[in-house]
């Protein structure tokens, strides 16, 4: 099955959603939102993408490993940012004095917060997408009748 309307919609909506998600991510320290909400929105756009192109001939599907990489990458960024504090002779997950804080109110400010927000965003996007995929079809090939 090949749904023209859905694909058209998708072509417009998916980038828009992703842009919105990215905005929320990057402005996490300035405005409402942050890693979790932004990440979820981006993850939702992936889900939409995979649903729209689910039956298309071109197999636009995202690979499972990709979302796992997002997942692990985000987590490692977080723990890594924490360990940097220890390397600098401070405490675990220290921001002040380890990362450049910058000028409050600018996008490139607040050091670890931005970094970790981006990490979380990547991680959550991967998580939401992967959870959905798994629930939708995970282990299905063993069912026989699915």
């Amino acid at each position: 099955m090949h749904d023209m309307i859905l694909e058209m919609l998708g072509r417009v909506l998916i980038p828009a959603t992703q842009l919105f998600g990215a905005y929320i991510l990057f402005h996490g320290h300035l405005s409402p939102g942050g890693g979790f909400s932004g990440g979820t929105i981006i993850g939702a756009s992936f889900i939409f993408y995979s649903l729209v192109y689910r039956f298309s001939a071109k197999k636009h599907r995202l690979r499972h490993e990709t979302s796992l990489w997002f997942e692990i990458g985000g987590a490692l960024i977080y723990v890594g940012a924490g360990l940097v504090g220890i390397l600098f002779g401070r405490h675990f997950l220290t921001n002040q004095g380890v990362f450049p804080i910058g000028e409050p109110g600018r996008i490139w400010s607040s050091g670890m917060i931005l970094l970790v927000t981006l990490g979380i965003g990547a991680k959550v996007a991967g998580t939401v997408f992967k959870l959905f995929q798994e629930l939708l079809e995970g282990g299905a090939e063993q069912d026989g009748h699915h």
């Binding site: 796992l68 723990v79 924490g82 220890i86 401070r90 405490h91």
Partner: protein, 488 residues
């Protein structure tokens, strides 16, 4: 070593890092095993050094992110936390070994190891938490991971048991979060020390809120720690899990919630709570119920793992009994039992798992003569069982001795007798198994002792049963100081 100050978070961080990395290298089993065991070993070394440090220099409080209390999260390692962390790290390391080299019961080891690492990390974080909400977060991680390592077995029974566990666990979490919300509402703090000091002022103003909060948290922890009568999920969940999971769950997970509960009572609520509310009597009543119900149900089981699970219900009763009696020695006994039960129940579950795997028999009625076919495994099982019964020279005896002495110190003769009766009940269901296994008529089931690498963790645990049975004085400084946190 300067980085030793960071041990409280490093333990958690190392285990988490290993957990995050294992999926990446999941396709190479040898590397996964190395990372898995390596993380366990590092956590053990860190925990040991941290304990030594705490013993020498007193309570260690680590402000994460450099923010002092009450603004940041503080990891508070007092003697109780250090002791718990050491117990966790030690027993977990041995179970890790079994999970890595023992009989394989899950389809893919990689995910299993990841979950075990996450569970261990969360437990470590939990026992050291000095912040109420931080504690909650770690509780949630460990709950989810604990359920996952049951469901991973994939059989009908394990999935069903884990779902039931999940529902009850979520109820418990709900109660817990509600309790934390109420506490925050009337104090404005999350750091346990600050909660305690603020409560001295605000408790009078909002008594019902505080009471409800304690009740809800009590129920939340009670469900998770399988305190009678909230233990209904435990037998199914623990008996249908893979062997290493059963050992972890029965040996460690259940106890961690008790530790967290007790830490909340003395850190956040203050010891006055024991005088103001009939908590002790509640503990005494519930633990009596647990001892009797757990033992009686254990007696009628035919499945070896279910028997062990019901026995856990009873043994949890011992730990609560220690806190309910509330004399110095009784608390020492309860605290010691956390270690001793962790060691002996892990031993029993691992030995039972080996037996089931090697012979395919899980029904006790078919154990007849198996002991002669796989003597080493059954000797280990016997040692665990003797410790459960409380034969002198084994670890189980020591905690029972302390508890009974503590019962007399608290002028409650009846509980000393109760402890002895429950020992008799234990004997009544453990000894027939051993006798029929060693001296019973031989069945035609083929079975042999497994390879050394499988049996090694069982042997180490058996050795620990004797070691802690003969030299409990090694743990005495920690245990005594822990009891002094409660009884001043």
């Amino acid at each position: 070593m300067p980085s030793l100050i960071h041990a409280p978070v490093l333990i958690v961080a190392v285990l988490l890092l290993a957990a995050f990395v294992t999926p990446l290298i999941g396709k190479r089993p040898a590397t996964v095993n190395a990372v898995f065991l390596g993380a366990g070993l590092v956590a053990f070394v860190l925990s040991l050094s941290m304990t030594v440090r705490v013993l020498a220099q007193g309570t260690l409080s680590y402000p994460v992110g450099g923010w002092p209390a009450p603004y940041g999260i503080v990891v508070l390692v007092d003697v109780f936390a250090a002791y718990s962390s050491l117990v966790l790290a030690t027993v977990a390391l041995i179970i890790f070994w079994f999970a890595a080299f023992g009989p394989r019961e899950v389809r893919h080891n990689g995910a299993y190891f990841t979950l075990i690492l996450l569970l261990t990390a969360a437990m470590q974080g939990m026992v050291m938490a000095g912040d109420l909400f931080n504690l909650f977060v770690f509780i949630e991680i460990s709950s989810l991971a604990a359920i996952a390592i049951i469901a991973i077995k994939g059989t009908k029974e394990s999935v069903e048991a884990s779902f039931r566990y999940l529902v009850l666990s979520a109820l418990g979490s709900g109660g817990l979060l509600f309790g934390i919300a109420l506490i925050f509402m009337i104090t404005g703090h999350l750091n346990m020390d600050y909660i305690r000091t603020t409560l001295t002022v605000t408790a009078e103003q909002y008594p019902l809120n505080l009471l409800t909060s304690i009740g809800l948290m009590g129920v939340g922890f009670g469900v998770k720690a399988a305190l009678f009568p909230m233990h209904v999920w435990l037998p199914d969940a623990h008996s249908n899990a893979p062997t290493a999971s059963s050992a972890l769950l029965s040996g460690l997970v259940v106890k961690v919630y008790i530790i967290a509960l007790m830490r909340i009572t003395y850190l956040a609520l203050g010891l006055e709570i024991f005088e103001l509310l009939p908590i002790r009597h509640l503990f005494l009543a519930l633990s009596t119920g647990a001892l009797i119900v757990g033992s009686v149900f254990a007696m009628v089981q035919d499945n070896v793992k279910r028997l062990l699970a019901f026995s856990t219900v009873a043994q949890v009763g011992y730990i609560f009994l220690g806190f309910g009696l509330f004399s110095q020695r009784a608390i020492e006994g309860g605290v010691l039992h956390i270690l001793n039960h962790a060691v002996m129940k892990s031993l029993l579950f691992l030995a039972a798992g080996v037996i089931i795997h090697q012979s395919g028999i899980k029904r006790l009625s078919q154990f007849s003569g198996l002991g002669r076919k796989m003597p080493l495994t059954f000797v280990a099982f016997t040692i665990g069982a003797m410790s459960m019964v409380g034969v002198p020279g084994t670890a189980g005896f020591i905690s029972k001795l302390y508890l009974a002495l503590g019962a007399l110190d608290a002028d409650m003769l009846i509980f000393a007798i109760l402890i002895l009766i429950s020992s008799l009940l234990n004997a009544a269901y453990y000894f027939p198994i051993i006798i029929s296994a060693f001296f019973g008529k031989e069945s035609d089931a083929g079975a042999t002792d497994p390879a050394f690498v499988v049996l090694a963790p069982v042997a180490v645990l058996a050795g620990m049963v004797f070691f802690f049975g003969l030299f409990p004085s090694i743990m005495v400084p920690l245990v005594r100081q822990t009891a002094l946190l409660f009884v001043r």
